[in-house]
């Protein structure tokens, strides 16, 4: 760190305080020579500054997404237990009919959990120390070749999940269960539909990460794209497990 006192001019005549002479020197910050990351411009303070910023961003976005589903599922639980008083007979009627879930949902759940595992492999490959070191030394881009197949696997599994969801909806249609059939089916389609839309967003993020990888963008960009999509993907998986448990066991 240089010895400049860190004063900043603010346009008035008395910008620099008069301290007499040169004033006491600023004690140097104890550090590691050129490794004083704090002294560098923003965005260049350490190898993971940008990564951490994007991780925080996706984490905050996930908070708001989870709140949407907390609102919907709390409405689900309240609606299940409430009924209405028939104005003519005076009877209290609970009109909730439990929904028998299509069996394919079990398969879909397993597919999504497996896709989360493959996504985690993809994420770890872009951070693997030996591979990253090779890239630093200019020996090709081994993290790409290591992570792209796993990204592809995740994309395939994710598509399979979405197709499986469509099959589940079609099975309910064939049974004569539609969005408006019963409050339970309304909530089923609303929850699974909203989740599918969010997962489609995750697919777009995966495709972005894959594109960034195929185009061999700088390592940091590839790491951020893969890492952020991975966290989003894991969260969507966890969200699905929550929704599925709720729909299957609380009905």
């Amino acid at each position: 760190m240089s010895k400049s006192s860190s004063t900043i001019s603010h346009g008035t005549k008395e910008a620099e305080p008069k301290l007499g002479g040169r004033g006491p020197s600023v004690p140097p910050i104890v550090g590691w020579g050129g490794d004083d990351w704090d002294n560098r411009p923003q965005g260049r303070r350490g190898p993971r500054e940008r990564l951490h910023r994007y991780r925080l961003g996706i984490g905050l976005a996930l908070v708001s997404i989870f709140i949407i589903f907390i609102a919907l599922t709390s409405a689900y639980i309240v609606r299940m237990g409430t009924g209405h008083v028939d104005t003519i007979t005076g009877d209290y009627i609970v009109d909730w009919k439990p929904l028998t879930l299509p069996g394919i949902l079990w398969v879909n759940t397993i597919l999504l959990i497996v896709s989360s595992v493959s996504m985690e492999f993809a994420r770890r490959q872009v951070f693997r120390e030996p591979l990253v070191t090779e890239e630093w030394l200019g020996m090709g881009t081994p993290t790409r070749t290591a992570s792209l197949p796993w990204l592809g696997t995740t994309l395939v599994l994710g598509s399979a999940f979405l197709i499986g969801q469509v099959f589940a909806w079609r099975e309910l249609y064939s049974r004569g269960v539609f969005l408006a059939t019963n409050p339970s089916s309304s909530f089923f389609f609303m929850l699974t539909g909203a989740h599918a839309i969010h997962l489609t967003g995750g697919m777009v993020a995966l495709m972005w990460a894959a594109t960034v990888g195929i185009m061999a963008r700088p390592l940091e960009t590839r790491q951020i794209a893969t890492d952020v999509s991975a966290w989003y993907w894991h969260a969507m998986g966890a969200l699905w497990v929550y929704i599925f448990i709720l729909l299957r066991f609380v009905r």
């Binding site: 400049s4 006192s5 860190s6 004063t7 900043i8 001019s9 603010h10 346009g11 008035t12 008395e14 305080p17 008069k18 301290l19 007499g20 004033g23 006491p24 600023v26 704090d38 002294n39 411009p41 923003q42 500054e49 951490h52 910023r53 925080l56 961003g57 905050l60 976005a61 908070v63 708001s64 997404i65 709140i67 949407i68 589903f69 609102a71 919907l72 409405a75 309240v78 609606r79 409430t82 009924g83 209405h84 028939d86 104005t87 009627i93 609970v94 009109d95 909730w96 969005l179 408006a180 059939t181 019963n182 409050p183 309304s186 609303m190 909203a194």
Partner: protein, 588 residues
Amino acid sequence: MSQPKSSPAQVAHPSSPGILRQILSFSTDHKTIGLQYFFLSLIAVLLGMALSLIMRLHIIWPQLRIPLLGEIKPETYLAFMTMHGTLMVFFVLSTAPQSGFGNLLLPSQIGAKQMAFPVLNMLSLWTTVVSFVVMLAALFVTGGAPISGWTQYPPLSAIEAAAPGNGLGMDLWIVSIAVFCFASLMGAINFLATTLRLRAKGMSLMRMPLTVWSWFVTSMLILLSFSVLLAAVLLLFSDRHWGTSFYLPAGLVVNGIAIATKNAGGSPLLWQHLFWFFGHPEVYIAILPGMGVTSHLISTFSRKRVFAYRAMVYSMLSIGVLGFLVWGHHMFVAGMNPNYVMAFSTLTLVIAVPSGVKTINWLGTLWGGRIRFTTPLLFSVGFISLFITGGLTGPILAQPEVDRYLHDTYFVVAHFHMIMGMAGVFALFAATYFWFPKMFADRLMNESFGRIHFWMTFIGAYATFLPMHFLGMAGHPRRYSQIQGSAEYIQKLLPLQTFITVWAIVLITAQLVFLFNFFRSMRLGKFSGANPWDSTTLEWAVPKPGQKIVVNHGPYEFGDFQSSGSQRDFVMQSDSPFLTSNPSDTRP
């Protein structure tokens, strides 16, 4: 105070390209985006104000034909009321203090060059613009705008046959609000990430200006509450178009016609719970940035530290937390378990504690200060006054038994216009006068016009909204376009409505003074110099080229520093660490 003589060198400013070109550009620069939000809110507030003028005129002069609109029918009145509320709450009070001034100043005040995600920031701005355009379109479609108020309670809002505005107008309202939620969430993520990750070296959390703290807490509230609104409007849309009945109860009769719903057991109360779980934090989203601005300005113009800085921070945080626990007080008459009523009532009363802490600390900051009565300070003191007046009716309305009588009367209208509307707008005016040099190339607004504007607005605000308390206590219901000749018990009080309308016109006229001053000062305002208000925070610091910002001081270090060789009575946050506050300036 200021050295305003303009020198040609000062005219050159990075934001020199014409203002119009700047606000129509797809820029990722935080200051430009802040200005764009500001002008969006300015358009919204002028529209909302025009709607309120039409409503006020109609109340005292029912036969009046408005040019282009003709005679105002009851449903037109309700449509205007809905749009007035929506525009003011979403596009003015949630947009200007947070997205407008927040974008303009947050990075500068924490010593960052940009927001954490500049492109996301641009996206959230233009998404808000789309939402605004969709909302305005609701006024022009067949049937007009929805009539069920900004709270859009079902079943009225869910059934198309219930009212003329409940067709396409209502759908546009829903779409617009959903888009607005999305835009606000993107903005909040950006604010939180920026505050947490991009602070300059030395800018610890407890060295952040209180404005930054208020934007930070507000962003958390937005993150946690707007998602719930998004879920709520999704279900409302589904009820309207996809045949579900989340909100639709059994045996509905609308305008004498029985409405057959597929499933009978939906609950309008579900909407109220979801809506107010968003709606109550929303009023703090509107007012917290105003509190931050007020704390900041009062300290600057009293030339004193903020009285009990930490208490200010903690009270803001506790207002944020409590704000999520009180939504039920909007539903006392809607039917609720009496135990819940008790809990909601008690928790609501508890909010008076952090609010009281803030009020007393503002007064404590002013106390014994070397006060400079500039226009921004006048508006900040006005904020305190309106905050107290409007705030004191809060605990009154929080009493379930009293609320059963006062619910849906003009008393409530007076309450939220005082504390949310007027206090919020006063903070906006204070911020505009104060940070005008940051908005328009180092120019200042005219002080004389500012004072005229303040006094007309201050007197106008009280004269308009104070009498509404009396109307409400007498039992005058809100949301009625006409009550003459129908309710015997308030006929004698109706001349008050004329009084209110006259003062509302004065209040609106006062804003013309502001607009004249604003647009005139953009071109002709005095040059301010780099730090016209002798402020301490980083947005007024001009770093030398290549110099990095390092923060060495707290945000509000005022006092006598002449002993340390400085002629100034303040230490900027980025000043040398050897400038310390005078020992005689005792910490409260």
